[in-house]
């Protein structure tokens, strides 16, 4: 999807703002959002990270740019909880209405502990994810020249605009990973080889780029053709 999330090489965002708060979570609600998302993805596998990214990318561009990171995750959480049938949209509306009855008060979520459930979810998050078995052997080898496909898929993809149509060199073969373009949309895992591809900065950004600098980006085989 040619969305605003695909930011590599864009201009106009100004200097990097380095100031940081004391908590990595922006605000305490951010920590709750992070924990809910982590528990439902890596803990319960209710949805996968590609679906989460696809949901984030579906947020309209102006809202995306105006939102902090955890607010984007919260919006994605709402989309996916409804999509996966965990809750209905009207249940969310009713709960919002209930909390909205006490304006000015920080809402407190319902509290219910379940130590066995917590232990199970935390253990599952600790576990290393299962990698797909080897698919067909990698088509490219170290040093091969490849070109990133000039394709503009409507849905989720991990092929950013700034490398499309550009030529690079296979730097490393990472192994086989599920294909996000299909996995994000419930169309199967379709594992395929992933490579680190080196693009010369000059091939991406023109002759003013320093001659020896490069950008290394990880790309699925399905995004590449021989140069």
């Amino acid at each position: 999807m040619n969305g605003v999330h695909d930011m590599g090489g864009m201009h106009g965002f100004g200097p990097v703002r380095r100031e940081e708060g004391a908590s990595p979570f922006h605000a305490s609600w951010g920590g709750r959002v992070f924990a809910m998302m982590t528990a439902l993805t890596r803990g319960r596998h209710t949805f996968n990270l590609d679906e989460m990214r696809r949901a984030v990318e579906s947020i309209p561009p102006a809202e995306y740019l105006a939102s902090v990171y955890y607010a984007l995750r919260l919006a994605a959480l709402r989309i996916l909880m409804v999509e996966k049938g965990l809750v209905t949209a009207s249940e969310i509306d009713a709960m919002l209405h209930k909390f909205g009855q006490e304006p000015g008060r920080v809402p407190r979520a319902a509290r219910r502990d379940d130590p066995a459930l917590a232990a199970g979810i935390l253990a599952e998050i600790e576990r290393l994810p299962q990698r797909p078995r080897e698919a067909a052997g990698p088509r490219f080898r170290l040093g091969d020249r490849v070109v990133a496909r000039n394709q503009h898929v409507q849905g989720h993809t991990r092929l950013p605009r700034y490398v499309r149509g550009k030529e690079g060199v296979i730097h490393r073969v990472h192994g086989v990973y599920d294909f996000p373009d299909t996995k994000a949309h419930g169309r199967g895992n379709h594992p395929a080889p992933v490579y680190s591809v080196r693009f010369a900065a000059r091939d991406l950004w023109g002759d003013t780029a320093p001659p020896r600098d490069g950008v290394y980006i990880d790309l699925w085989e399905n995004y590449l053709d021989p140069a």
Binding site: P24, A35, V56, E63
Partner: protein, 216 residues
């Protein structure tokens, strides 16, 4: 179809605390967070203690001190460094860290590495904890691939023209950790002392490891 309002717009531009504990306005974001948490908890899909424990882990237990231990070991043990660069999963496991998708890239006087995720915010959580806010924001994500030297200069890192800059865009499932160059004047320091020189930013590649006198 975009009825997920309340998730974002209200906090536009506010990158610091937006909570109002003593009266004042409560954001739609806070309301929605509490609403979703209540629904998940009431339906038994998650529990309050699950959420508490995950927050606590990432606030306290998981952070850049883990990556710093790895770097300090690599600085003091050349064989370990080779294992780390060629097969990070087993090298990390030696230190009790379970992560099988980390690529460690080494800074030298001739090569400087830095990490970004232009499409979202992929980051090596298991060794660095949660990413800083700037790592997730448009300025860093957009500029790091097209003008890394200018971005690094804003972080106070001026690189000579002769240094080759390698930017790693974490666009798939691999995560990247920069092994910073060991500072001069650190001969004879212990691993624990060395680890204190290794900042989070130096492992993202936007800073150097601290010189001994500057260690906190």
């Amino acid at each position: 179809m975009h009825d997920h309002g309340g998730g974002g717009g209200h906090d536009a531009g506010h990158h610091h605390g937006t909570e109002h504990h003593h009266g004042g306005e409560v954001s739609q974001t806070q309301l929605l967070t509490a609403a979703l948490e209540s629904l998940l908890v009431e339906k038994g899909l998650l529990s309050s203690d699950t959420i508490d424990q995950l927050v606590e882990r990432y606030e306290k237990d998981i952070g850049p001190m883990i990556g710093a231990r790895v770097v300090a070991r690599a600085w003091t043990d050349p064989a370990y460094k080779q294992r780390l660069l060629s097969d990070s999963a087993s090298a990390l496991a030696e230190l009790g860290i379970h992560m099988d998708n980390l690529v460690v890239v080494e800074n030298t006087p001739a090569v400087h590495n830095a990490v970004v995720c232009t499409l979202c915010s992929c980051y090596p959580w298991a060794v660095l904890g949660l990413p800083p806010t700037w790592y997730k924001e448009p300025a860093y994500r957009s500029r790091m691939v097209i003008e890394p030297r200018a971005v690094l200069r804003e972080f106070g890192l001026e690189l000579d023209e002769s240094v080759e800059v390698r930017v790693w865009d974490s666009s798939a499932e691999q995560r990247y950790l920069v092994l910073p160059d060991r500072p001069a004047g650190t001969e004879g320091m212990t691993e624990a002392e060395l680890a204190r020189l290794v900042s989070r930013d130096s492992m993202i590649g936007v800073a150097r490891a601290a010189a001994p006198a500057h260690a906190r």
